[in-house]
């Protein structure tokens, strides 16, 4: 039911350039973003995530396709007529206005009464904890404070959807962590639908209700962080999010033979023939000897990572995989390089990829 969707893109195509030189920044993207959710568009730079955001904001018009806001067609509506606000990557704060004037700008332009503007601005200042800075010029603020002004400015007119274009990329790690939980808090408190664009997979996993992974102008997979991480549909999604292993396998429809040895029941609807499976390093289990029912492997290298111990393994069929084991109290490696070990996988952790 489309009434539940805050934003919907239907077969959105955006081409830049003409004729043979045209580049499709968006290539037939359809997505439904639900009301009140924290939705993240995740992908490497140039994947089309910002273009999709700009179509929703109205800064660009699609070459073809439709953009709906709460069921209404807004494809060709100019940005000032859309109840959608944006937090820009560069913040784009107005340098000639004070913090309070910046936050009140949208309401002023809508022609709201002065008293209402003031009340909303005060509420927003409190929400982002910048009451003391109301009269300052934005250039007198730190990066993190500017970020919060940009957020308050975009939230003040109570938009139906808030668009965030990599807003945390200019902040250092510590501030970024703080702002992540701040953003999540603001989203919960205001109940506004957030569409967040990032190339940072960790950010996407920790903040989002759902993630849309994009690559080469296409939406690769949409799902909850858990679904995206544990059930990646294809090689791109699996490798873009977290560390992973790709292992060749064969399937007869009911049984999966992994790396020429390890057998397990094939998940439903697995095609017969050669397939690729993916498994996260932390789901690879090691036994000190190659017991029956395990895949024999040679330890190639051991890397101490603090909380974890990382083993590089060479399987009998030539595949290289990594295993990640929680370090014990001494931090000593339980297994040494050159040793032959047995490899198994946590039941259900193997994911058969579509391609």
């Amino acid at each position: 039911m489309s009434q539940l969707n805050a934003v919907e893109a239907r077969h959105a195509v955006k081409a830049f350039g003409q004729g043979d030189n045209a580049v499709r920044a968006l290539n037939d993207v359809s997505v439904e973003i639900r009301k009140g959710e924290f939705f993240t568009l995740l992908g490497p730079s140039g994947c089309g995530k910002t273009t999709l955001l700009r179509l929703i904001a109205g800064f660009e018009m699609p070459t073809s396709g439709t953009i709906l806001l709460e069921g209404a067609d807004i494809t060709y509506l100019p940005p000032n007529k859309r109840p959608v606000n944006t937090v820009f990557q560069s913040y784009a704060l107005f340098p000639h206005l004070t913090v309070a004037q910046n936050i009140g700008f949208g309401l002023e332009m809508q022609g709201r009464p002065k008293a209402e503007v003031k009340a909303t601005v005060d509420r927003m200042l409190a929400l982002v904890k910048l009451e003391a800075m109301a009269g300052r010029k934005t250039s007198q603020l730190s990066g993190g404070q500017q970020q919060r002004v940009a957020l308050a400015r975009a939230l003040a007119p109570s938009p139906k959807v808030l668009l965030l274009d990599e807003p945390l990329s200019a902040l250092d790690l510590k501030l970024r962590r703080e702002m992540q939980s701040e953003l999540k808090r603001l989203q919960t408190e205001t109940g506004i639908t957030f569409i967040f664009v990032t190339h940072d997979q960790e950010e996407a996993l920790t903040m989002s209700d759902r993630i849309g992974v994009m690559s080469a102008g296409k939406l690769q997979q949409v799902g909850t962080p858990r679904e995206i991480y544990t059930r990646p549909l294809n090689r791109f999604v699996a490798s873009f999010i977290g560390e992973t292993n790709f292992v060749p396998a064969t399937s007869d429809g009911s049984t999966l033979t992994v790396a020429g040895g390890y057998q397990m029941p094939a998940p439903a609807a697995t095609k017969s023939g050669a397939v690729t499976v993916t498994v996260r390093p932390e789901q690879v289990k090691l036994t000190p000897t190659a017991e029956p029912g395990t895949l024999p492997a040679t330890v190639r290298g051991v890397v101490y990572m603090g909380t974890d111990m990382n083993y590089q393994l060479h399987l009998a069929d030539g595949t290289e995989i990594e295993a990640c084991v929680v370090s014990d109290v001494t931090g000593e490696a339980a297994l040494a390089a050159g040793q032959t070990v047995g490899v198994t996988f946590t039941p259900g952790s193997l994911q058969v990829l579509e391609d």
Binding site: P79, F88, A92, F94, F105, E108
Partner: protein, 267 residues
């Protein structure tokens, strides 16, 4: 140890050259100002301190008349050229780079490149034709000529200001429900204002100072301060000229200082 890099200040004769250059630049002006307080009739022989020449100049009706005309022309030329230059600057910067952009820049800055005397002669001929056909006389011709050659001087600081302005700001304004006109009125123009004022002041000073084009385009009885002074040179030279020059200099210094402060505040 710091790495030695090439520095002009280590070249032999650097200090001497610098001193000579500054003396050549400022000694004439200092002499001019000093002799404006000369009590003697001569512009070259010192005869004691006096305000006489300032009082004489102040009470000289021809000087008053020329000053009023100079200011009128300069204000009109500054306003017209700044308005045109602002539109030109908006048209050439608030958009993606386009074909022929450099050509447009060169076209706008024509008065900086064409010798002034050529412009002056061509205006003389053109205005002569227009006057013949229409019969219209008046100061309008001089104002028109000044406004035209002031455009690049107003255009350059405005364009510099616009180029330093983030294009995203206008996108942000549109995102926050501002119509295109509101965006211009509440975002572009206020941010642009120091550039506009700087451009207007530069245009004003340039117009105030002009001799060549004014001399060729003015009619009888339309002397501006510089052309009046030029006329005086042909007769008897008194320190009154120094006094007028010093006052012009003071006005220019005030305006250029304000211009400097305004453009510096940009960053």
């Amino acid at each position: 140890m710091a790495i030695k890099t090439f520095s002009v200040s280590t070249l032999p004769g650097f200090t001497a050259t610098a001193v000579i250059v500054f003396v050549a630049l400022y000694l004439p002006i200092l002499t001019l100002v000093a002799y404006s307080f000369n009590a003697s009739q001569s512009v070259a022989i010192w005869g004691g301190f006096s305000w006489d020449w300032y009082i004489k100049a102040w009470n000289n009706d021809a000087v008053k008349d020329a000053t009023v005309r100079s200011l009128l022309i300069a204000v009109c030329a500054a306003v017209i050229s700044t308005a045109v230059a602002t539109m030109a600057a908006l048209g050439t910067t608030r958009r993606k780079a386009f074909k022929g952009q450099t050509f447009i820049y060169v076209m706008i800055n024509q008065p900086l490149m064409v010798p002034e005397i050529v412009t002056a002669v061509s205006l003389l001929i053109l205005f002569g034709m227009v006057k013949q056909v229409t019969g219209i006389q008046g100061i309008g011709y001089v104002i028109f000529a000044h406004a035209a050659f002031c455009i690049p001087f107003a255009y350059l600081p405005i364009r510099a200001r616009l180029e330093g302005m983030d294009l995203t700001l206008e996108t942000a304004a549109a995102d926050l429900y501002a119509s295109p006109w509101q965006t211009f009125r509440h975002v572009t123009l206020p941010i642009l204002l120091p550039g506009v004022i700087a451009g207007a002041m530069l245009a004003f000073v340039i117009s105030l100072d002009d001799v060549v084009i004014t001399e060729f385009t003015k009619s009888g009885g339309q002397d501006t301060l510089p052309t009046y002074m030029l006329g005086q040179m042909r007769r008897q030279l008194t320190p009154e000229i120094n006094a007028i020059s010093s006052m012009l200099l003071a006005l220019t210094i005030v305006l250029l200082t304000a211009f400097f402060l305004l453009t510096r505040k940009n960053d």
